[in-house]
């Protein structure tokens, strides 16, 4: 179904689709109140609030891959889950093809449009269900794939699409390797023919050579079915390869948003620069000797006033700590959240 809807299939990741935004997030925030025991509850003090995602606005076009990178505590996973419907946003809107997501209908209807792939291949499949059962369930629950025999054929077709031999369909997950299990998770997501897939660190738990196989698979599927991806990861090299645009997150906010190559060649935010220079480059002739980023992530329950990165930034000034910077345009298509972005570049 989605193959028929696609208007442009970018054969190369450099061709950016022209259609209107498929998904748009406006000022999305998600907070969690900390768990408290009876004593703390009785004390009358309000629960402290963890702002996992703070005022994030992003858009994804049909067939586009948006990479979201950042380190622990940046909120990228929480953002992904808000988009996939696992969390209810505390504030902000999620728009699908221009209309609020709630207008699509209930959770079931939304799941036909937006799907998700998770990080841990060892817990993303029900250990007691065979591959056939897992995939059939997805089809049956949404009235897809026809009746009994047709459904079995559709399951085999899905397995082939993700590069697995159909004879594996009667196996249980424990008989498969991590890479194979991830493929099954992808097949399960594809069964619903979604237009957007949120992939939350889908290759982080896999070996390097298997990672490459799965990344190739993503790109193949993207090209074949025109599915848009939100690719959440911490490995920048992988994200660069697969994304059209990349958003860098720190402490719940987007600090930089740009086309993939632009981000890598000319990073403008101090955190992005630090992140890129921290990546161990596989070339012994080029050893990075400068001191990297110092310090630790601030307590997310108590974020710094002003710029979140001010506690670790080497270009910090007094004004940085006083005023919270906004996401401004550096170049067309390149947004940066730093007051000093022009001075330091």
């Amino acid at each position: 179904m989605s193959a028929a809807l696609v208007t442009t299939n970018p054969a190369s990741p450099n061709a950016v689709p022209q259609a209107d935004a498929l998904l748009e997030i406006r000022h999305l925030s998600k907070s969690f109140a900390e768990n408290r025991n009876m004593l703390q509850f009785a004390s009358g003090r309000p629960a402290r609030v963890l702002q996992a995602v703070r005022d994030v606005s992003l858009s994804v076009r049909p067939g586009e891959t948006l990479g979201v990178v950042g380190e622990s505590g940046c909120g990228k996973s929480t953002l992904g889950r808000c988009i996939a419907g696992l969390y209810e946003p505390s504030a902000g809107d999620v728009l699908w093809q221009g209309r609020p997501l709630s207008a699509i209908g209930n959770r079931r209807a939304a799941s036909r449009q937006i799907q998700m792939i998770f990080q841990d291949p060892y817990s993303s499949l029900n250990p007691r269900m065979t591959l056939q059962q897992t995939l059939s369930e997805a089809l049956k629950a949404h009235g897809l794939g026809g009746s009994g025999k047709q459904r079995i054929e559709r399951v085999e077709e899905l397995l082939l699409t993700v590069g697995l031999p159909p004879r594996l369909k009667d196996r249980l997950p424990h008989a498969l390797s991590g890479g194979q299990r991830q493929r099954v998770s992808i097949a399960r997501a594809l069964a619903l023919e979604p237009r957007l897939i949120v992939a939350d660190e889908p290759v982080s738990a896999l070996d390097a050579s298997v990672q490459a196989q799965i990344i190739n698979l993503f790109e193949e599927l993207r090209d074949k079915f025109g599915i848009a991806f939100i690719f959440i990861a911490h490995d920048l090299n992988v994200v660069r390869h697969i994304s059209h645009r990349i958003a860098v997150m720190y402490l719940g906010e987007v600090v930089e948003l740009a086309e993939a190559d632009a981000l890598f060649e000319t990073p403008r935010h101090p955190y992005t620069k630090a992140l890129l220079s921290a990546i161990p480059w596989p070339d012994p002739e080029h050893r990075v000797t400068s001191t990297g980023l110092e310090g630790e992530l601030p307590d997310p329950l108590n974020p710094p006033a002003g710029c979140s990165f001010s506690t670790r930034c080497c270009w910090v000034e007094a004004a940085c700590q006083a005023q919270h910077p906004t996401l401004d345009t550096f170049d067309p298509g390149h947004l940066v959240r730093c007051r000093r972005m022009r001075e330091i570049n």
């Binding site: 190369s12 990741p13 450099n14 380190e71 622990s72 390797s177 890479g179 070996d207 390097a208 050579s209 298997v210 990672q211 490459a212 196989q213 990344i215 190739n216 790109e219 911490h234 490995d235 920048l236 090299n237 992988v238 660069r240 390869h241 993939a260 190559d261 630090a274 992140l275 220079s277 921290a278 990546i279 161990p280 480059w281 596989p282 070339d283 012994p284 002739e285 050893r287 990075v288 001191t291 990297g292 980023l293 110092e294 630790e296 992530l297």
Partner: protein, 328 residues
């Protein structure tokens, strides 16, 4: 090839795991040497035997049914493979220290970190309580922990992952070991914290002259930190040499494939080049060269004999039979 100045010489190490009846030879004839003051990398994918190798050196299997079944481990004039448990304890922590991958579980949650550091200081260096605490403060400072005096009484759960790894390094260094074994010390950490920890290890090596055996799966880490490196596959070493040599002229098809598969080496728009197939089952490894089922250059000879390492250029060895033929 061991030289007279090697700190540790491992020769023909064989380690077996006996579980559920089936015996798995996780390390099958591994030989290498570590020189004083060098950072030696052991790189490979999961299941290649790199973790088993470093645990075999100090016989720390964590209760797993494993044993060193062959070979010798010469360190400071002793063969660690034949040492009894009591003497091994004297060496572990004092002359050879180890840090692990998961800083969350490597620290005892019910002891303050001061107590954990002092434990080693008092056992191996015989320091009294006051002296041990002072030394602990100095150690924490040397690994970059701010306000070390007040942190001594803190508990592990109050520290972040990066801080805990620093504490673990402090504990490891407490007794001024000659060799630090680091088993994937940064795999569980964020990239900027990884950078900090690796630079810390480099600085500590420069300051104290200790050697480091660094186990990792990340070729980038190898390139940035290691002086020499051994590439392991399926329990054996496929290639070994100076880091520069390995990257400039990879002399084994597996090493080549690993480097080719890196996203950093792929241009945008081109497909990544994964290594086809799956790593072998070590309970029943392939006959002959272990890599032949996945090797594009395998011939009959590869399927018959298990190749040993041989020199390709000075200081650089490869276990591929066809190195010269293929012009690798």
């Amino acid at each position: 090839m061991s030289t007279a100045t090697s700190l540790m010489t491992v020769d023909g190490l064989v380690t077996r795991f006996n579980g559920h009846g089936a015996a798995v030879t996780a390390v099958d004839g591994v030989s290498f040497d570590i020189r004083p003051g060098e950072i030696f990398g052991l790189v490979g994918e999961s299941g290649c035997g790199k973790s088993a190798t470093c645990r075999s050196l100090i016989r720390l299997f964590g209760g797993a049914p494993a044993e060193v079944a062959g070979g010798s481990i010469l360190f400071d004039g002793l063969d660690l493979a034949t040492l009894n448990d009591r003497r091994m304890e004297d060496i572990r922590g004092a002359r050879i220290a180890m840090i692990f991958q998961d800083p969350m579980t490597a620290l005892n949650p019910t002891m303050s970190i001061g107590e954990q550091i002092c434990e080693g200081l008092r056992r191996h260096r015989g320091l009294g309580r006051r002296a041990a605490r002072e030394e602990a403060v100095a150690l924490l400072a040397s690994v970059g922990v701010t306000s070390p005096g007040s942190r001594l009484n803190a508990y592990p759960h109050q520290f972040s992952g990066g801080m805990r790894q620093r504490v673990l390094i402090a504990i490891a260094l407490a007794c001024r070991p000659k060799l630090l074994i680091a088993d994937e010390p940064t795999t569980a950490l964020d990239v900027t914290i990884q950078d900090q920890i690796l630079k810390l290890i480099l600085r500590l090596r420069d300051d104290s002259g200790m050697s480091v055996l660094l186990v990792t799966h990340d070729l980038g880490v190898v390139a940035q930190t290691c002086d020499r490196v051994a590439v392991m596959y399926a329990g054996r070493i496929a290639e070994m040499g100076e880091t520069r040599q390995i990257f400039r002229r990879p002399a084994h098809p597996y090493t080549r494939a690993l480097l080719d598969a890196l996203p950093a080496h792929a241009g945008r728009g081109t497909k990544l080049k994964p290594i086809g197939g799956e790593p072998p089952n070590l309970a029943a490894p392939p006959v002959g060269c272990r890599f032949h089922p996945r090797c594009a250059h395998a011939i009959d000879r590869c399927r018959q004999s298990l190749p040993d390492l041989h020199a390709v250029e000075p200081g650089h060895e490869s276990a591929c039979l066809r190195v010269e033929e293929l012009g690798l």
